[in-house]
C-alpha cells in the first residue's frame, strides 16, 4: 500500500541522510561528557545539570558576600612595609605653604603616607596659626580636576620627553633670534626659585621675570621708594603699637600677612582680670569703605567712601603735623568722625603708634609714610630694614608686559603660578593676544583660564608633593618638603626650567646647594648636613639678625603726593562708587576650586558660594533695593550682575563686590560660582586700584537667593548670649559687662545655677574644657576650616546652605549692635548704620547638664567621665530631638548621604578626594546627628601615648583642631582638673572676672567658657551695665 503520508524531515541532515546524522539518530542524548569537558561556571559557556548545585552554591556565596557591608576594595597589605611608616601612626613633616605671596610655616600630618591635616609650626617666628586658605590647600592636593600629565594643545597623551624637546628647541631658536622670553608669575617667596630663574636667564639671556599680584600692594613698595629710597614692603609690628590707625587696610583679614598681624595685634588686645594682670589695650581706629574684619574689630570705625579715603590720610597727616610741627600739605577739607580724636591719640602715643593704609596709591602711601615718620613709627612699629616679601608684584611691569604681548613683542611666555586672563583687569586683552605668542608654557596645575590658551601646560605638582623654600621676611627662611610622592605625572616648574636651561634638573639638590651657599652662610652652625637636616626638621631657619631696626628719614616729595591725592580724591561725591575687596576664604580666587573655601562663610556677610553687591542699608533704601535683588553694576561699559546683600556699616553710596569668584575653568566647585569682577578694577597712575570710581547700579528685576549661614544679624540685647564692656569699666571692675542671673527664692536671692535638679558629674581624672577669648577672636574663620579638615565634615553646597543645613561643627556667630531701645523687640532686629561687631565662635558647649543627653531615646548621646558630651553615630536613629533641645543649636543632622552622592559632587564623591579623610574620624552616614567632639580622637591618642609612657598627660600635649589653628590663641583648651594647665590658671583668674558661660540661667553648665569682649572705647556716661535678674 502506497504510503500517502506526507514526509517531514527534521532537518536538512535527515533529508541528506549524512553519516553523522544516521550515527547519532538513535541516541537522543549524546554521549556523556568526558572528564573536564565542561568549563568553569564563569566562562559563560552555559551550564549543565550537574552544575546546578555549584551554581546554587556560588550564587548563595556571592549573595551573602555581597550582602556584607562595605566590601573592602583595593586593600593592599604592607608586604614590604615602607620604612618609618606605621599603620594608624601619623607622621609629621615640617613644610611651608607659600602660594602667591600667602605664607604659612606648617606641619603636615600624614597617615599611611597621605597628608590629612595641616597645622601651624610653632617654631616659626613669622607665621602664626594657620589661615583658612592654608588649611584648605590640603584639599587642593586631592583635586581630581588637575592635569594628570603634560598637555600640548589638546593632547594630554604627550610625554615629558616630547614636550621638553619641543620647548627646548623653540627656546633655543627664540634665544638665537633675540626674541623676548618672559616668565610671568605671582609673588615668588622662594629665593632658590629666583636663582633658578636667574640660571635660566643666563642660558636664555632675553628672559625677564615679571611678578604681579592679583590684589596688589605694588604702590606701597613704590611709596617707600619715593619716601625713603627703599623699594621694599616693610615689616610692621602691631604688638608695639598703642594707637593704630588703619586706612582701608584689612590687616586682620586679607591685607598682605593677616595671620602675623592678627597675632601681633592680639597681643595688644589681651587683658586679664587678675589684680596684677594686664589692663591696657591698644586703641584701634579704622577708616574704610567696606566693613572689613579689621574694621569690625576696631574700637572706632568710620565708614568713608572710596573717593575720600586718600583725603582721610591727608587730613590725618595735617592734623598730626599741626601738633608735631610738620609741614602741612594742601588737601581738601574733609569732615569724617573720629579723625580729630585719632590724630590727638596718635600724637599722644608718639613712638608707639602706627598708621597703615592698604590703598594701592603711591601718593597716599607717601603721605602715610610721612605721617608715620612724624610719629616716629620707623624703627619702632615699622621696620624698613627687614622687608617682607609677601607682595613683590609690580603693576607697572605687568602692564607693560600686557602691552608687549599685545604688540606681539613676546616670543615666549612662561606662566608660573599665575592666571592673568582671569585675575588681571586686562585679562581679556591678554586672552586675545596670547595665541600670537609663539611659545607659551604654563606650569599651572590645570587648564585654567590662562593656561588653556597656552600651547603647553607642564603641570607642577602640589606643594605637598614638592621641594621648595621660602623667604617670607628677609632673613627668615623656611623649607618645603614633600609629604607624599607625586600623585600624577607632574614636574616642578623649577625642575622644568633647570632642565630647559640644560642644567641638572634635580631641584631638591639645587635647593640644598643654594642653601649651602646662601643660607648656611648666614650664621649656620655645625656642618651643613646637620644644618640641612635640622632646617628640614624645623621647617624654618631664622638667620641671626645683624642690624637692629633703625629709624628712617622721610625724604619724599609731599607736595607731589598732595597733588596726586587732590587729583584722585574728592571731599564729597554723590554717585554710587564701586569698590572691590578680597574674600577672606577664597582670596584672589587662584585656588577657587576648593569646596571647603567656597563654603566658608565670609566673616562679615556670612555668605558663601557667591559674591554679592554689598550695599548699606541707607543706600539700598534710597535705591529701592532689597536683599537678593540681582543688580547690574556697570562701570564704563563693563558690568556684572550680582545679588544684593544689605550690609550695615558699609559706606553709604558705595557698592562692594568680592574678587575671587566667577572662575570659568577652575573645576566643578568653582566654575560659575559668582561673577568675576577683576575686569571692573582699574589702573590709576599705572597701579591697580580696586576702587575704580562711580558705577551705575540698576535692578535687573531678577532675584537670587543668598546662601548665608547666619540670617539674623543682631543679638537682640541678649546679655546671657553676648557679654561685653568697655576698657574703662573693665579697669574698675573685672566683672563689668557680665550678666549674672539671680533668682529670688524663699531663702533669699541665689545664683540661677544654684538651683538644680541635677546631681552633676564627678570627673575624677580629666575635665576637658575650653576658654574662648572674645577679645582676641577676630572672626577670620581659620578654625572653621581646621575643624572641617580634622573631622571629615562634608560640604553641602549652595542650595543646602540656603536651606540652612551647612554642616560646620564650629561656626563663628557675628552680631551687629542695634540702636533700638532694649524693650523694642522689633527695632532690635535692625542693625545700626555703623554697628559695633562681635564675633563669637560657637561649637558644642559640652554641657554638664546637657539637654541633648536626656532626650535621646536610644542613648546615642551621653556624657563621658571626662566632661565631654559624646555622640555615638552608630547608635543614632535620627529623631533630631537633641538638636531641637540644644539651646546653642550646634548639632548637625545628616539630611542626605553626603559621600558617593552625585548631588554632592565634592571631594567626598571621588576616590582621590576621599584621600583627605582623616582615618581617625568616622564619616557619618545619612540620618544621624553629628557635632563637635572636642577632638576626642586627639585626646584619646594623647592619653594612649601618655599611658604607654606611664605618665599623665602634660598640658599642651593635646590640642584641639580649632585652638591649634588660631593665629591669636583666642581658644585655650586643656584639662580643668589639672591645676597647672593654662586653662585652669586662666579660669582661676577670670572666674571672678571675664569668664562667663553662655545662657548661664538655664544652668546647663557648659565646659566652655567665654571671656567678655572689651572694647577700648571711651566709657559712655551711663554706669557699667550689670543687669540682675530678679
Amino acid at each position: 500500500m502506497e504510503n500517502t503520508n506526507k514526509r517531514y524531515w527534521r532537518g536538512l541532515e535527515e533529508l541528506r541522510n549524512d553519516e553523522k546524522f544516521v550515527k547519532e539518530a538513535r541516541s537522543e542524548f549524546s554521549d556523556g561528557p568526558t572528564e573536564g569537558q565542561y568549563e568553569s561556571l564563569v566562562d559563560g559557556a552555559g551550564t549543565h545539570r550537574r552544575d546546578f548545585l555549584k551554581v546554587l552554591g556560588f550564587g548563595m556565596a556571592a549573595v551573602s558576600l555581597a550582602a556584607c557591608e562595605a566590601p573592602v576594595k583595593k586593600a593592599i597589605p604592607y608586604v614590604n612595609k615602607p620604612e618609618g611608616e606605621f599603620p594608624t601612626i601619623a607622621n609629621w613633616y615640617a613644610s611651608t605653604y607659600a602660594e602667591g605671596g600667602d605664607y604659612a610655616s606648617i606641619l603636615v600630618k600624614t597617615r599611611e603616607g597621605r597628608p590629612v591635616k595641616i597645622e601651624g609650626n610653632s617654631l616659626s617666628k613669622t607665621s602664626f596659626g594657620v589661615s583658612a586658605r592654608a588649611h584648605a590647600s590640603l584639599l587642593g592636593l586631592y583635586d581630581n580636576e588637575k592635569l594628570k600629565g603634560p598637555k600640548k594643545g589638546s593632547d594630554t597623551k604627550v610625554t615629558w620627553d616630547v614636550v621638553d624637546k619641543e620647548i627646548v628647541d623653540q627656546l633655543t631658536k627664540i634665544a638665537a633670534q633675540g626674541g623676548a622670553i618672559r616668565i610671568l608669575s605671582s609673588t615668588i617667596l622662594s629665593p632658590s626659585t629666583k636663582s633658578v630663574i636667574a640660571d635660566f636667564t643666563t642660558k636664555y639671556p632675553t628672559t625677564s621675570h615679571v611678578m604681579y599680584d592679583a590684589n596688589s600692594s605694588s604702590a606701597i613698595v613704590k611709596g617707600n621708594e619715593l619716601s625713603f629710597g627703599k623699594a621694599v614692603f616693610p615689616t610692621y609690628d602691631f604688638s608695639k603699637a598703642k594707637v593704630i590707625v588703619g586706612i582701608d587696610a584689612d590687616f586682620l583679614g586679607t591685607w598682605v600677612s593677616p595671620d602675623t598681624f592678627s597675632a601681633q595685634f592680639a597681643e595688644t588686645r589681651r587683658v586679664s582680670s587678675d589684680k596684677e594682670g594686664k589692663k591696657e589695650m591698644s586703641r584701634h581706629y579704622q577708616f574704610e569703605s567696606i566693613l572689613s574684619v579689621t574694621g569690625s574689630n576696631a574700637d572706632y570705625r568710620t565708614a568713608v567712601k572710596p573717593s575720600q579715603l586718600g583725603l582721610v590720610a591727608a587730613a590725618l597727616y595735617n592734623k598730626v603735623a599741626a601738633k608735631l610741627g610738620g609741614s602741612p600739605i594742601s588737601a581738601a577739607a574733609i569732615d569724617v568722625p573720629n579723625l580729630d580724636k585719632a590724630a590727638t591719640e596718635l600724637v599722644a602715643a608718639k613712638g608707639q603708634s602706627l598708621v597703615v593704609s592698604g590703598i594701592n596709591d603711591a601718593s597716599v602711601q607717601v603721605v602715610v609714610n610721612a605721617l608715620n615718620s612724624l610719629l616716629g613709627s620707623y624703627g619702632a612699629t615699622i621696620n624698613l630694614d627687614k622687608p617682607a616679601n609677601y607682595r613683590q608684584g609690580n603693576d607697572v611691569a605687568m602692564n607693560s608686559l600686557v602691552d608687549e604681548v599685545k604688540g606681539g613683542k613676546v616670543a615666549a611666555l612662561l606662566l608660573f603660578g599665575a592666571n592673568p586672563v582671569y585675575d588681571h583687569p586686562r585679562g581679556a586683552e591678554l586672552a586675545a593676544a596670547l595665541p600670537q605668542v609663539s611659545l607659551s608654557v604654563s606650569f599651572n596645575d590645570r587648564a585654567d583660564e590662562t593656561s588653556s590658551l597656552l600651547k603647553y601646560i607642564c603641570p607642577a605638582p602640589h606643594y605637598l608633593e614638592s621641594w621648595g623654600d621660602a623667604e617670607p621676611v628677609a632673613g627668615s627662611y623656611s623649607l618645603i618638603q614633600p609629604a607624599i610622592s607625586q600623585i600624577f605625572s607632574t614636574r616642578q616648574a623649577q625642575a622644568s626650567l633647570l632642565k630647559w636651561a640644560g642644567l641638572a634638573s634635580d631641584y631638591h639638590e639645587y635647593i640644598k646647594a643654594y642653601w649651602r651657599k646662601n643660607v648656611y652662610t648666614q650664621g649656620g652652625t655645625g656642618d651643613f648636613e646637620k644644618f640641612w637636616i635640622k632646617s628640614l626638621h624645623d621647617g624654618v631657619y631664622d638667620a641671626p639678625s645683624t642690624t637692629a631696626a633703625s629709624g628712617a628719614t622721610f625724604s619724599g616729595n609731599l607736595s607731589a603726593a598732595a597733588s596726586g591725592i587732590a587729583k584722585k580724591y574728592k571731599a564729597s561725591s554723590t554717585g554710587i562708587e564701586l569698590t572691590l575687596f578680597e574674600n577672606i576664604g577664597l582670596g584672589n580666587g587662584f585656588h577657587a576650586n576648593n569646596p571647603w573655601l567656597q563654603e566658608l562663610p565670609e566673616p562679615i556677610t556670612k555668605a558663601c558660594w557667591d559674591n554679592h553687591a554689598c550695599i548699606s542699608q541707607k543706600t539700598a533704601a534710597e535705591l529701592g533695593f532689597e536683599q537678593g535683588d540681582v543688580v547690574k553694576v556697570d562701570i564704563k561699559g563693563k558690568a556684572v550682575e550680582v545679588p544684593v546683600i544689605i550690609q550695615p556699616g558699609l559706606a553709604n553710596g558705595t557698592v562692594a563686590i568680592a574678587i575671587g569668584f566667577g572662575r570659568e575653568k577652575a573645576g566643578k566647585s568653582a566654575n560659575g560660582v559668582g561673577k568675576n569682577v577683576y575686569p571692573l578694577a582699574a589702573f590709576a597712575d599705572g597701579y591697580l586700584t580696586f576702587a575704580p570710581g562711580e558705577a551705575t547700579v540698576s535692578k535687573t528685576g531678577e532675584t537670587r537667593e543668598i546662601a548665608q549661614t547666619q540670617t539674623h544679624n543682631t543679638v537682640m540685647n541678649r546679655k546671657s548670649v553676648l557679654q561685653e564692656t568697655v576698657l574703662a569699666h573693665f579697669q574698675k571692675d573685672p566683672m563689668a559687662g557680665r550678666f549674672v542671673p539671680k533668682i529670688p527664692t524663699s531663702d533669699g536671692v541665689v545664683d540661677a545655677t544654684d538651683l538644680s535638679l541635677w546631681n552633676g558629674h564627678k570627673y575624677k581624672n580629666h575635665s576637658w574644657g575650653m576658654v574662648i577669648d572674645l577679645n582676641t577672636c577676630f572672626g577670620c574663620g581659620s578654625c572653621v576650616i581646621s575643624c572641617q579638615a580634622e573631622n571629615n565634615i562634608p560640604v553641602v553646597g549652595r542650595q543646602e546652605v540656603i536651606n540652612s543645613r551647612e554642616m560646620h561643627w564650629l561656626r563663628i556667630d557675628r552680631y551687629y549692635s542695634s540702636d533700638a531701645d532694649v524693650e523694642d523687640l522689633r527695632g532690635l532686629e535692625i542693625a545700626s548704620e555703623n554697628p559695633e561687631v562681635t564675633f563669637q565662635p560657637m561649637l558644642c558647649q559640652h554641657c554638664n547638664n546637657a539637654p541633648c543627653e536626656t532626650v535621646c531615646p536610644v542613648l546615642a548621646t551621653t556624657h563621658s567621665s571626662e566632661g565631654l558630651n559624646q555622640m555615638t553615630y552608630n547608635r543614632c536613629v535620627g529623631t533630631r530631638y537633641c538638636a531641637n533641645n540644644c539651646p546653642y543649636k550646634v548639632r548637625r543632622f545628616n539630611w542626605f548621604k553626603y559621600f558617593d552622592n552625585d548631588n554632592f559632587d565634592y571631594h567626598f564623591n571621588n576616590d582621590l578626594g576621599k584621600m583627605v579623610i582623616n582615618p581617625d574620624v568616622t564619616v557619618r552616614s545619612r540620618g544621624v546627628i553629628e557635632k563637635c567632639s572636642m577632638c576626642v580622637h586627639r585626646i584619646q591618642d594623647a592619653k594612649l601615648t601618655a599611658k604607654k609612657e606611664r605618665r599623665r598627660i602634660v598640658d599642651g600635649e593635646v590640642n584641639v583642631a580649632c585652638a591649634s589653628s588660631c593665629p591669636t590663641n583666642a581658644i585655650t583648651f586643656g584639662d580643668m582638673n589639672d591645676p597647672e594647665s593654662r586653662i585652669s590658671k586662666l579660669l582661676e583668674v577670670e572666674k571672678e572676672g571675664r569668664a562667663f558661660h553662655m545662657l548661664e540661667e538655664i544652668n546647663v553648665r557648659p565646659q566652655i567658657s567665654y571671656l567678655t569682649k572689651v572694647r577700648n572705647k571711651d566709657a559712655a556716661s551711663k554706669a557699667p551695665e550689670k543687669k540682675e535678674h530678679a
Partner: protein, 477 residues
C-alpha cells in the same frame, strides 16, 4: 433599670425594634459596596498611592527632601504626629470615660470613634517612623533584650515615654474596640449567608454564644477596660506634651502643657468624630441612630474643650509676660507678631473663636455648620501644633541660628499619605464592620427611644413589608 429623664431628648429615633437595629446596621456590611463607597475608596487609594510614593522617596533619599534645617529639626512630621494622636483621643474618651459616666449617647458613636482612634494612632505612629533619620533602626527605641552589650533605651527621654504611651494606648484601644465588636460580629456571623463571611466573622466572633454568662463577662471586661483606658486618655497626650514640656526651649518648656494638650486632643478628636459621623449617617442612612441630639452633645464638648484650650493659650501668654523671662517672653511675642504670625492667628481664630459660636443653639444643631466648624477646628488644631513646634524652634536662644521653615512637596506629600492611609482604613472598616455598636444601641433603646414600639423585639420593618425572609426570625420560634 436605668431611667432617662423625660426632659431629655430621646437618642434613637424612628421607633426602632431590636431587629430594626440589626437590619439597619448590618445592611451595609452584608450588601455589595455602594457606588459612593467605591468612589470614596478609589479616591482614598489614589491619595494613599500618591502619599506612598512621596514617602518612599523620603525614605530612599533622606529627610533632606523635607524643609527642615539645622534650627528647625521638627516641623510637619511632629505636627502631624501630635495632630493625629490628638484626634485619636476622642474614641477612648467616648468609649471609656463616657461609659464610666454612663452617658448613653455614646452608644451610637463609640464604634466609629474607636475605629477612628485606632486609625489615627496608626497614622500618628507612621510619623514617628517617618521622622527618624534611620527608620530601619526604629526598634532600638524599644527596650528589647539585644546583642549590643548593655545598650538599653534612655528612660529619661520623653520619646521613650512616648513609645510606651502610644503603644499602650494603641493596644488597649484595639482590644477595647475588638471586645466591643464581638457581639456584633456574632450577629453578622449568624446572619451571614456566604461561607467566607461565616468563616471570617465566625472566627473573629470567637464563639460568642449570647448566653447570659457571656454577656455578663462582656460587661465585666468592658468595665475593666474602660477603667484601664480612662487614665490612658489623660496620660497619652500628657506624655506627648512632655515631648515639649521637658525640653529647655522657650515656648516648649511649660508646665501647663499636659492639661492643655489633653483638652486640645479631645477638642480635635470630637471634631474629627463629627466630620466622620456626619458623613456616615447620611451615606449609611443612620439619621435615626446618630441624631441631632448626638451632634449637639458633641458640639457642647467641643465648645467646652475649645474654651479650655483658649484659656490655656491666654494663660501661656500671661505667664510669658509675668515670669519676666526674656526668652519666654520673646517666644510668645514672636508667635504673635513674628514671621509666623499668620499661623498663630489662624490657630487663635479656629480654636478659640469658632467653637464659641456653638453657644447658639441654632448653630450647634445645624449639621452644615457643625461640619464646617469641625473642619475649622481640626485646621486650627493642626496650626496649634505647628505654632508650638515651628515658631518656638525657629527663633530660640541664639539669634545667629534663627531660621525659617517652609514645607516642600514631600512634607505635604507625607501628610497626604496619612490621610490616604486613614481614609482607606476607615472606609474598609465602614464597609466590613458595623459602624454602630448594635448590641449597645439595643441596650438603650428601651430607655431612650422615640416612638418606642410596644414590642421592640419584633421583626425588622423592612421584613414586615415582606421583601424577604429574614434569616433569623425570633417571632417564628
Amino acid at each position: 433599670m436605668h431611667v432617662t429623664s423625660p426632659v431629655r431628648e430621646p437618642l434613637i429615633q424612628g421607633g426602632k425594634t431590636y431587629a430594626d437595629v440589626t437590619e439597619d446596621i448590618c445592611r451595609h456590611v452584608e450588601g455589595a459596596p455602594t457606588k459612593e463607597w467605591k468612589i470614596a475608596f478609589g479616591l482614598s487609594l489614589i491619595v494613599l498611592a500618591y502619599g506612598s510614593v512621596c514617602l518612599a522617596w523620603t525614605w530612599w533619599e533622606g529627610l533632606g527632601v523635607w524643609g527642615l534645617n539645622k534650627t528647625v529639626g521638627w516641623a510637619w512630621d511632629i505636627t502631624n504626629f501630635v495632630w493625629w494622636v490628638g484626634i485619636g483621643h476622642a474614641g477612648t474618651l467616648i468609649s471609656a470615660i463616657l461609659l464610666l459616666f454612663r452617658q448613653k449617647w455614646r452608644t451610637s458613636i463609640n464604634r466609629a470613634a474607636e475605629a477612628m482612634t485606632i486609625f489615627a494612632v496608626i497614622c500618628a505612629a507612621s510619623f514617628i517612623l517617618m521622622h527618624m533619620g534611620r527608620p530601619w533602626m526604629a526598634y532600638w527605641a524599644l527596650p528589647l533584650p539585644n546583642a549590643f552589650g548593655s545598650l538599653w533605651v534612655n528612660f529619661n527621654s520623653p520619646l521613650v515615654w512616648d513609645v510606651f504611651a502610644i503603644s499602650t494606648y494603641f493596644s488597649v484601644s484595639l482590644v477595647f474596640w475588638y471586645i466591643g465588636l464581638i457581639p456584633d460580629l456574632a450577629t453578622i456571623r449568624d446572619r451571614a449567608t456566604s461561607k467566607i463571611s461565616k468563616l471570617m466573622y465566625g472566627t473573629f466572633a470567637m464563639g460568642w454564644d449570647g448566653s447570659a454568662k457571656t454577656w455578663a463577662r462582656y460587661e465585666y471586661i468592658s468595665l475593666i477596660l474602660a477603667g484601664l483606658s480612662t487614665p490612658l486618655v489623660l496620660s497619652v497626650h500628657t506624655i506627648v506634651s512632655m515631648d515639649f514640656a521637658t525640653s529647655v526651649i522657650p515656648g516648649w518648656h511649660t508646665t501647663i502643657f499636659p492639661p492643655y494638650f489633653v483638652a486640645g486632643a479631645i477638642f480635635s478628636g470630637f471634631a474629627m468624630v463629627q466630620n466622620l459621623m456626619l458623613i456616615t449617617r447620611v451615606v449609611y442612612k443612620l439619621e435615626d441612630y446618630i441624631t441631632l441630639e448626638h451632634i449637639e452633645t458633641m458640639n457642647k464638648v467641643i465648645t467646652l474643650t475649645g474654651s479650655v484650650v483658649g484659656v490655656a493659650y491666654i494663660t501661656e501668654f500671661f505667664i510669658a509676660w509675668y515670669s519676666g523671662v526674656e526668652y519666654e517672653y520673646y517666644a510668645f511675642f514672636n508667635r504673635m507678631t513674628g514671621p509666623y504670625w499668620w499661623a498663630y492667628w489662624a490657630m487663635m481664630t479656629c480654636n478659640v473663636i469658632s467653637p464659641q459660636l456653638f453657644w447658639s443653639r441654632k448653630l450647634r444643631r445645624s449639621i452644615t455648620f457643625t461640619f464646617f466648624i469641625s473642619v475649622v477646628v481640626n485646621i486650627g488644631m493642626w496650626f496649634e501644633r505647628f505654632v508650638i513646634i515651628v515658631t518656638s524652634l525657629h527663633r530660640d536662644y541664639i539669634p545667629s541660628s534663627w531660621a525659617m521653615f517652609s514645607p516642600t512637596r514631600y512634607d505635604i506629600g507625607d501628610y497626604i499619605f496619612s490621610f490616604g492611609l486613614f481614609f482607606t482604613l476607615f472606609l474598609l472598616f465602614s464597609k466590613y464592620l458595623p459602624v454602630v455598636n448594635m448590641a449597645e444601641v439595643k441596650a438603650v433603646i428601651r430607655s431612650t427611644s422615640a416612638n418606642l414600639p410596644t414590642k421592640i423585639a419584633g421583626v425588622a420593618k423592612v421584613r414586615q413589608r415582606g421583601t424577604a425572609e429574614p434569616a433569623f426570625d425570633k417571632d417564628k420560634e
